[in-house]
């Protein structure tokens, strides 16, 4: 693990969607730090706001969505920091950062690759957008990266259209495209969810290897705790638009603090461990985004619910030893009751 200085610092990020029906607080006060060279995993159930968090960093949130608050500080190669949240989403400066400093692999590879251009063209275009090189050089570098990500016969697949590739190959192309400019941060939004376990293992290994080679940081978004345990250095657990707990991966799996993390870890079947026993469950289901519970949003499902405390106000972020944080009254903060939910 690489514990250098912070590369990306997100503070109190809030991204809301104002629809006809009301405001969806998809991301509602998220803080985290990604250090240089580390793998940061954002884990949570469907709809908790993982993708929107990632989109907010690049300011590519879909239309009714707006970043309403918070800062996103990115440290650049020259040591300066920039607040991405304060930049114009359509401006040149931000466009240069996308792809060059921060690259992204999307959940659905088919939607982010252009169907009418060959993969080779798409990758070399991305490169030429950010680097002053000619077509030939771009082609060479594209070929090199295609080979690196394990595309067989790259000179042939250079001219292939995305639909002609299998799911695993497409994901490799996505990775090649993301890494062609050697970004300092790679955001991978569920890069393996659509793939089989065998292909998932190969792709995760590939990302890991390339990360070692290029020294970049990776922000991996997933809902699979197995994947988290395999690749993460630091983990943040998200529930309903907030990070409820963050810790280094070993501490988190050894000793989860937040009741949600604990319950989540207990509810997954693990090979060789839970045979024929009943799984522990979290009762109820994720509330509707319009209808967040007051106070700690997890309180209606929590086994440690303290009436009069948990449903009164939002638990503050509590800092524990080892750089861990948790948002739960079990770990303090209960006396700051006048702090109302935003």
């Amino acid at each position: 693990m690489n514990t250098q200085g912070p590369l990306l610092e997100v503070q109190d990020l809030q991204t809301h969607f104002s629809t006809d029906e009301g405001v969806v607080k998809a991301v509602d006060g998220v803080d985290f730090t990604i250090r240089q060279g580390e793998t940061f995993c954002l884990v949570g159930e469907s709809g908790c706001g993982k993708s929107v968090t990632a989109f907010s960093i690049l300011q590519i949130v879909q239309d009714p969505g707006r970043i309403v608050r918070g800062s996103i500080h990115l440290r650049q190669d020259d040591g300066q920091t920039l607040d991405l949240a304060a930049m114009d989403p359509k401006g040149r400066a931000l466009r240069r950062i996308r792809g060059r400093d921060i690259a992204m692999i999307f959940q659905e590879p088919m939607t982010s690759l252009s169907p009418v251009h060959t993969v080779g063209d798409q990758i070399s275009e991305t490169l030429r957008l950010h680097a002053p090189i000619d077509k030939l050089q771009a082609r060479e570098q594209t070929m090199a990266i295609l080979t690196r990500v394990g595309i067989p016969r790259p000179e042939r697949h250079f001219h292939a259209y995305p639909f002609q590739l299998s799911g695993g190959m497409r994901q490799r192309v996505m990775i090649a495209m993301a890494l062609i400019c050697r970004p300092s941060l790679l955001i991978a939004d569920e890069p393996t969810t659509a793939l089989d376990v065998t292909m998932q293992a190969v792709i995760l290994d590939l990302i890991k290897e390339l990360q070692g080679e290029m020294g970049m940081s990776v922000m991996l978004i997933t809902h699979n705790l197995g994947v988290v345990a395999e690749v993460a250095d630091t983990v943040a657990v998200m529930y309903l638009g907030r990070i409820v707990e963050s810790a280094d991966v070993y501490s988190l799996f050894r000793e989860p603090k937040h009741p949600y993390t604990t319950a989540l870890l207990r509810s997954i079947p693990v090979i060789g461990l839970t045979k024929q026993e009943r799984l522990a469950t979290i009762r109820g289901m994720v509330p509707h985004p319009f209808n967040r519970p007051h106070g700690c949003t997890f309180h209606p499902r929590c086994d440690h619910f303290m009436p009069g405390v948990c449903n009164r106000s939002l638990p503050p972020i509590t800092h524990l030893e080892g750089g861990r944080t948790v948002r739960c009254f079990l770990y303090g903060g209960a006396d700051t009751r006048e702090r109302e939910e935003r």
């Binding site: 293992a201 197995g226 994947v227 009943r278 469950t281």
Partner: protein, 355 residues
């Protein structure tokens, strides 16, 4: 391998208990049509000679990668399709019927005995019908109940799958994935079946809802004495639920055994690779090393390779694998495998997390 006894597994009587369902050399080939006159140019061999036996009261897990034919196999058993070849034998009170040989009318009584839970909780419920109609329609069709009796039976069943009877008059569109899947389960159970084919019933669900649903399936099995054919691609879910497990690869069963035996002591290289790819939710196991990387993609079921379908990706493949198709044979102890060299090669099982 000359001296080895190569008994095809389906001929061998089961050592314990009478099987409820036996599949023998089942094939389902879908035609590929091309051109203006839709000439059949080729076939997708979705299921290509699968044999298995499901014992009464057990949960039989079926795992495999996407596109290997799990759904197709399940649907053949349900006779959604008419299989190209093979037999699906259903044993009941000492009688045996071949479901493949029956027509729609003759199948009707068996449609009560064998039911199915679908993978997609959205597409499998008619959005234009109330929960009462979705669950109760089967009772109506079979002339079992109607009117208030039907309503009572459905609301009783809803309670057992953990839904309140207010749901009777609701439409599925406003329900969450977990609730919909419970309705799908209720629909499968409403005719009091003996066998339920569960086609990835939890794959589309969230982690926490998945655990609830798996527990529910276990409870219902105990309550109604059900037999499950449980199809999934998540190996840890199958391990958790199944008594016996089979592994499928490109339309064929490559291995089956008691779940524990299969996971601890796999005998087919594909099973080994599959098990080693499963991520383990314990970071301490990270350094276990030796993960097998399968090169290349799953074979195309329209143009499968020669010999053993797995040979292009198999690290133990030899000349014989290219030329000769291995048949599913019993290694003893109800452990079947379709590999020429099972006895010779040393394979690693799943890493077991202890404590």
């Amino acid at each position: 391998m000359s001296g080895m006894k190569e008994t095809a597994i389906s001929e061998k009587p089961m050592d314990t208990g009478q099987p409820l369902l036996e599949i023998k050399n089942l094939k389902m080939h879908f035609p590929i049509q091309k051109g203006v006159f839709r000439r059949i140019t080729d076939y997708v061999r979705a299921v290509d000679g699968a044999s298995l036996a499901v014992k009464r009261g057990e949960t039989f897990g079926l795992v495999g990668e996407s596109g290997c034919g799990k759904t197709t196999l399940g649907r053949c058993i349900m006779r959604v399709y008419r299989p190209t070849a093979g037999q699906i034998l259903y044993h009941e009170d000492g009688r045996t019927v071949d479901l493949c040989a029956l027509n729609n009318e003759e199948l009707k009584p068996y449609r009560r005995k064998i039911r199915m839970i679908f993978q997609d909780p959205h597409g499998s419920l008619n959005p234009r019908m109330t929960v009462l109609d979705i669950v109760g329609d089967a009772l109506r069709v079979h002339g079992i109940a109607s009117g208030t009796e039907l309503e009572d039976r459905v609301s009783d069943l809803l309670r057992r799958v953990g839904l309140r009877s207010e749901y009777l008059r609701r439409y599925p569109h406003a329900l969450s994935g977990g609730e919909r899947q419970r309705i799908g389960i209720a629909r499968a159970l409403v005719l009091e079946p003996a066998l339920v084919v569960c086609d990835e019933p939890v794959s589309a669900l969230d982690v926490s809802v998945q655990a609830q649903t798996l527990n529910l399936l276990q409870d219902l099995q105990a309550e109604f004495g059900l037999t499950y054919l449980f199809v999934a691609h998540d190996l840890s879910v199958v391990e958790h639920l199944s008594d016996r497990t089979a592994v499928m690869y490109v339309g064929k069963l490559v291995e089956f055994a008691d779940t524990k035996a299969l996971y601890v002591n796999p005998r087919h290289p594909y099973t080994e690779a599959l098990l080693s790819a499963v991520p383990i939710a314990d970071p301490r196991m990270r350094e276990r090393g030796g993960r097998i990387r399968l090169e290349g993609d799953v074979a195309d079921p329209a143009h499968p390779p020669t010999g053993c379908y797995f040979h292009p990706r198999c690290r133990y493949a030899r000349q014989r694998c290219l030329e000769e198709e291995p048949i599913l044979r019993d290694l003893g102890g109800d452990h079947g495998v379709a590999c020429h060299f099972s006895e010779e090669i040393e394979l690693r099982g799943a890493v077991m997390v202890n404590g």
